[in-house]
Amino acid sequence: MRLLSGLIAGALFGAGLALSGMVDPARVLGFLDIAGVAQGTWDPTLAFVMAGALAVATPGYWLARRRAKPVFEPAFQVPGKGAVDRRLTLGAVMFGLGWGLVGFCPGPALAALGSGRTEVLIFGAAMAAGMWLFGRVAR
């Protein structure tokens, strides 16, 4: 059951990314391109996707907080309230740079692998290499 619920959660996540068009980097860049606001070409999709996600995830976390433990596991593995530090901000800056260059963040890049496009494979391999590298040098 633990694995089945993981599979279902992953599938819902991937379906949501694909349905909302977030697997398409052009759509994401259409949101990030604020010059489009003045030109009338700005695409607000990403903001609506975030709003839809938060509208469901927020009550989900509220319910989780009222439970002693999750349904299928002995304990919650949710991070506590840490401080904002340099790793957090520097990491977010690096992520923002890469996201703005290509329009892929980790979820959509993986959900788009099934398109079979070479560009997705190249980006996905580089992303995995970056994560692997972090595990080697900076952890």
Binding site: S20, T45, A57, F95, G96, P106, G107
Partner: protein, 152 residues
């Protein structure tokens, strides 16, 4: 929205901005995040899930693999529809540079659009709010420079 076959009607494919489909897709993502925390006590953060697999963290491997299989599988099924298209404009060096930055940066910063942007904001984390504000701001600035300063 256009509808057809599958199980009576076809899921819509967004070609131009469609607020209802965007909200519905977002709600599915939020539902996935809610299920992950309620049933498995986990943050549905993709960089954490993939990074944990690459770090060979054995204890959490089965759930993370199951989630990734679902994510990639559902994406593949949805993208198999002929009307679902994606457009990638970057050159190979740009894709590699972007991938490395996204991979390293999301691990260094402990999360991405899903872990900080959805799960973190949903549980009211200040770290996630700061992270989300920074990566969206930097991405907007980066794209502006690439498209309208260098490219313009």
């Amino acid at each position: 929205m256009c509808f057809v076959a599958a199980w009576g009607y076809r899921l819509p494919v967004m070609t131009s901005f469609d607020p209802l489909t965007a909200l519905l897709g977002g709600a599915l993502i939020g539902l996935a995040a809610a299920l992950a925390v309620l049933f498995n006590g986990r943050v549905a953060g993709i960089s954490g899930i993939l990074g944990g697999i690459l770090d060979l963290d054995r204890a959490n491997m089965p759930w993370r693999l199951a989630f990734l299989i679902g994510l990639i599988g559902a994406g593949a099924v949805m993208l198999a529809r002929p009307e679902a298209t994606i457009e990638i404009t970057g050159s190979t060096p740009l894709l590699i540079a972007g991938g490395l930055l996204v991979g390293f940066g999301t691990r260094l910063g402990s999360g991405c659009t899903s872990g900080h942007g959805v799960c973190g904001l949903a549980r009211g984390s200040k770290r996630s709010l700061v992270s989300t504000a920074i990566y969206i701001g930097v991405a907007v600035a980066t794209l502006f420079v690439v498209r309208h300063v260098i490219g313009g």
